[in-house]
Amino acid sequence: MIEASTYDQARKRISALGFTPDIQTKITLLLSTAKSGNLMFHAGVQWLPRLDLIHQAMLTQYSRELEALTLLSRTTQWSLNPALAIRGGQILAPLTLAWGQVMLPPGPLLNPQAAYRGISLGHAQLARIRLAPVIPDQVDPLNPFIVALQRIELENGRLLQTQIRLLKDMPTSVPLADREARVLADQQLVDGVFNDFLHWLASD
């Protein structure tokens, strides 16, 4: 669990400085990394021969994640500081690595374990990366970056339903205890990354 004080520190920093290009760039680095991984995972749905209920939900997720990435890339005021990309890459490396493992050949379409891992990792990201609590009360609600951030935050809760239903209901030969352990491990991974990210957000 992320401590409330960690959110408070990040919000205090943003409250003092505003959504500077550095802060916007940090946030977009995090969300882009998370959403690119999930997008890559769901891109496989295009190769499926038909669109039944769950495939439609996956297509929606693919489309919405693409929309989120577009919104972020078009509304972010990018920082020119190259050190941010380097430090961000270090903090976000566990996520990048995890999605890389999911997408290893033969890929999730042909590897049920990788498919389950991708759903579990997507759940952890959509459930635990929550930026609404770092947005100060006094920000301009019509600022395009804030609008995009809030749209993405709200949409994450809805998209999460796909992962919830799949984790609970999809037929799998993986025993329940193993599945729960997988889900917990991914949640801890995402919590660790997000905790580090919030500390980074609160720092210079």
Binding site: M1, I2, A4, Y7, H123, A127, R128, R130, A132, P133, D137, L154, G157, R158, L160, Q161, I164, L167, K168, L176, A177, R179, E180, V183, Q187
Partner: protein, 318 residues
């Protein structure tokens, strides 16, 4: 606050006071956590009790199962937690979602109870409550956690409380958003899909039982509590004046005083569980804390016995 391993789950709890004293265990509502009972610990520990509160599975810092969470697991988890803390018997006080768990616990683990207090709760999903639950779940899944938080304020609190706390509510909501996970709340709510009504088993509850219901609780209305009262012979129903659903937060002084009276009666043997209905005094310092309830407590209006003159009863329109 310490964490203890119960089976494959972690439970985050707070135990204040020596467990050699009578223990009061508090169970949270759906979006609450253990820290909300600290004021109750401040009140009851100096009065000779120990107070145990904990985050239910799916809440706060306790484990938040994602794949599977059966409703019965909560009562079994409480049984394990009491074992781990070497608490043989406890007074159990529970609100709303926690009240359902408490009733289940009292039915299946009743030997562990000294008394039971259930507040703002239900033993079965009435059609009204089933619709409410569906709306809450739909809001959570289709709109999101902030929607559910918005919905719960007017259900839980009176207009007076909301008006008095307008400025603090955004911070309260933010804290609730950080402390709660939408998927975990969803899991708790979906555990009711397979919920079997507890009503037929309520007569098995033999311990002294206090049922508390807010005067204006339209979330879990009077019919839910009256159903419990009718099924538990060793019970009384106590109505909290002016209160909505979350009166433990809106009227803590009144609630603590009423609990103290009840627990005192249980301890000194003066408790009489006769299924009678009472009204809590507004003033927690009132010498007579329980007032008799006149009229039909299941109704929201009081009807006079003497018929009004025809001329007064028929409205005139000019």
């Amino acid at each position: 606050m310490p964490t203890i391993q119960c089976g494959k789950h972690q439970v985050h709890y707070e135990l204040i006071g020596d467990t050699g004293r009578p223990v009061i265990t508090f169970l949270n509502g759906l979006t609450q956590n253990a820290s909300l009972w600290r004021g109750y610990a401040d009140y009851f520990v100096p009065r000779g009790y120990a107070v145990l509160a904990y985050d239910l599975l799916g809440q706060g810092r306790s484990s938040k199962p994602i794949i599977e969470l059966k409703l019965a697991l909560h009562a079994d988890m409480l049984d394990q937690l009491l074992d781990r803390l070497a608490i043989t018997q406890t007074h159990l006080v529970a609100i709303s979602f926690g009240g359902v768990i408490a009733l289940d616990f009292a039915i299946r683990h009743g030997q562990r109870l000294r008394s039971l207090t259930v507040m703002s709760t239900f033993a079965e999903l009435t059609p009204h409550l089933e619709f409410f639950g569906a709306v809450m779940l739909l809001g959570l899944t289709e709109v999101g956690l902030p929607y559910l938080q918005h919905l719960l304020y007017p259900l839980n609190m009176s207009s007076a409380w909301i008006a008095a706390h307008q400025e603090q509510i955004p911070d309260m909501k933010r804290a609730g958003f950080i402390g709660n996970d939408g998927y975990a709340l969803q899991n708790l709510m979906e555990s009711f899909v397979a919920f079997t009504p507890l009503t037929p088993d309520l007569p098995r509850i033999r311990v002294p039982t206090l049922i508390m219901n807010g005067e204006f609780d339209f979330f879990t209305p009077r019919e839910c509590h009256d159903l419990i009262r009718r099924q538990i012979s060793n019970s009384r129903l106590l109505l909290i004046q002016h209160a909505y659903h979350a009166f433990t937060l809106e009227y803590p002084a009144v609630t603590m005083r009423q609990l103290e009276v009840f627990l005192g009666q249980v301890s000194d043997g003066s408790w009489r569980g006769d299924q009678s209905v009472w009204v809590a005094a507004d003033d927690p310092g009132a010498p007579n804390p329980w007032l008799p309830c006149a009229g039909d407590w299941r109704r929201a209006i009081q009807i006079g016995t003497a018929p009004a003159p025809v001329a007064d009863a028929v409205p005139t329109h000019s």
